[in-house]
Symmetry: C2
Subunit: 284 residues, 2 copies
């Protein structure tokens, strides 16, 4: 069932709660791919009822980012969700969600702001205000749907860590379920932004997972020095790659390490054909 209005969703949820049914939420920005479907399948296994939100959230995009051209495929999304047995696809307008609220503006909108320490690193460094926008929309969706469980992909590793931190800090009564990255057979992590890439670009994009796999394999072979592990990346890079960051940090706190250990995660962000791609891998 496709719903556009907050009140319609609340009505439906209220009915389910009365019947004692558990609810799972899969927050998405649409352009659904097999990565999203893995979240939906997990939600179906875990909960009686599943809500997928399908909303390109304006307040998490910076002024120079791809909000306007971000892929929007609502009809296809709804079909995919119906095939998976999703109970509600919630696709609100920006006006329904924010009224007069503006892009990345804290002048007139209440924001949820994750800790500086979690934000001022990795993706947050180049995307000022991005995680404020993410946490704000996610908390709004949590309050609208009031699910017992919410499902997020490990692909956006910093995002999951920040959302778990928000849930803990604000005592949000929801359990966060993190699902593994889904990859093409080539190793490329699925992303809605892969649609921007040419066939050549997709080949160049394989470097992200290759670098990460190589770091993991070096770690397994006994190299723990973070600088040494990071240096192994240079063998893979060409002039097709515009590297933004490559970091090895604590998988729960994002703290920088000098020595990698079994709690470490390696994360990479790199532009290929001007498309910003991210990927990550647990070293354990």
């Amino acid at each position: 069932m496709l719903l556009h209005r907050i009140e319609e969703v609340r009505e439906k949820i209220k009915q389910w709660k009365k019947e004692g049914l558990s609810v799972g939420l899969v927050p998405t920005m649409g352009a659904l791919h097999a990565g999203h479907l893995s979240l939906i399948k997990k939600a179906k296994e875990t909960c009686d009822k599943v809500v997928v939100s399908d909303f390109v959230n304006p307040i998490q995009f910076g002024p120079s980012e791809d909000f306007d051209k971000y892929p929007r495929t609502l009809d296809a999304d709804v079909n995919l969700c119906e095939n998976e047995g999703v109970d509600i696809v919630f696709a609100p307008s920006a006006n329904e969600m924010y009224g007069e609220g503006q892009r990345l503006s804290n002048d007139i909108l209440t924001y949820v702001c994750p800790p500086f320490f979690y934000v001022n690193t990795l993706c947050g460094k180049s995307r000022t205000g991005h995680f404020d926008g993410v946490c704000t929309v996610v908390l709004k969706l949590f309050n609208i749907v009031q699910p017992e469980y919410a499902f997020f992909g490990q692909k956006d590793a910093q995002q999951v860590i920040i959302i778990k931190k928000m849930v803990k800090d604000l005592n949000v009564p929801i359990q966060i379920i993190q699902c593994p990255i889904v990859r093409e057979d080539t190793g490329l992590a699925l992303s809605s932004r892969n649609k921007y890439l040419s066939e050549d670009g997709k080949k160049d994009a394989l470097v992200l997972s290759k670098i990460l796999n190589n770091i993991k394999s070096c770690y397994k072979n006994g190299i723990t020095d973070v600088d040494a592990l990071k240096e192994t990346a240079y063998n893979f890079l060409t002039d097709k790659h515009d590297m933004e960051y490559l970091e090895i940090v604590d998988k729960n706190t994002l703290e920088n390490k000098t020595k990698a250990d079994n709690n470490s995660i390696a994360l990479i962000a790199c532009r290929v054909e001007k498309v910003r791609l991210i990927d990550n891998i647990y070293l354990e």
Copy 2:
């Protein structure tokens, strides 16, 4: 029943919800007086079960403010609450609420940040970060207690407006009930901080309500020019009064006005014997 742990509260609430009972929350910082009791009475009228939180919230105090000496009277509070038929007094430790979280620090804690426009005025001007701390603790309490209704006093007018805005912006599924200011027979608005005042100080403090009543009476007599209305205050002030602000703004948006109307509210903050006192009045 006095509870100190979040999990104990959640357990109790869960049981009530199963029985279909409605829950009201009265968030306080303790040091309960007749103003708080009026909120509790209203909650008892409105809801099946009433929770009073009693917590001096460290993150809403600035470094030079009165956190350490803020009055703490838990035993008396619990007695008062029992007399009113309160079902739970929730008095957590700072550690239970924040763990490693620090005072007014957004380095390691997720914050709820009300809009700049609502914060950078009135009390927010002199109390940097205060309303971030208020919204954060209130949202935490909302998430812990999950009440249908929450009760706030009109005494802290800017606070109520900001919390209503938060509830709207973040789609919090709770109805905010605002209750009128309770005053001594002299006109002095009840406040936990009145305890700091000497007998002479309490007399000097009457000037706040006198100024506000006079403004209202001038407005009723046809004066609408905000500057003219504010000027009437000077007749009341002596060297015992250290005025912080006197403003006439929109009662819903806090917007400044040049002409007062029936949607206006007059607000005052003034120090007497170094004690910061606030008061307000609707002009209608």
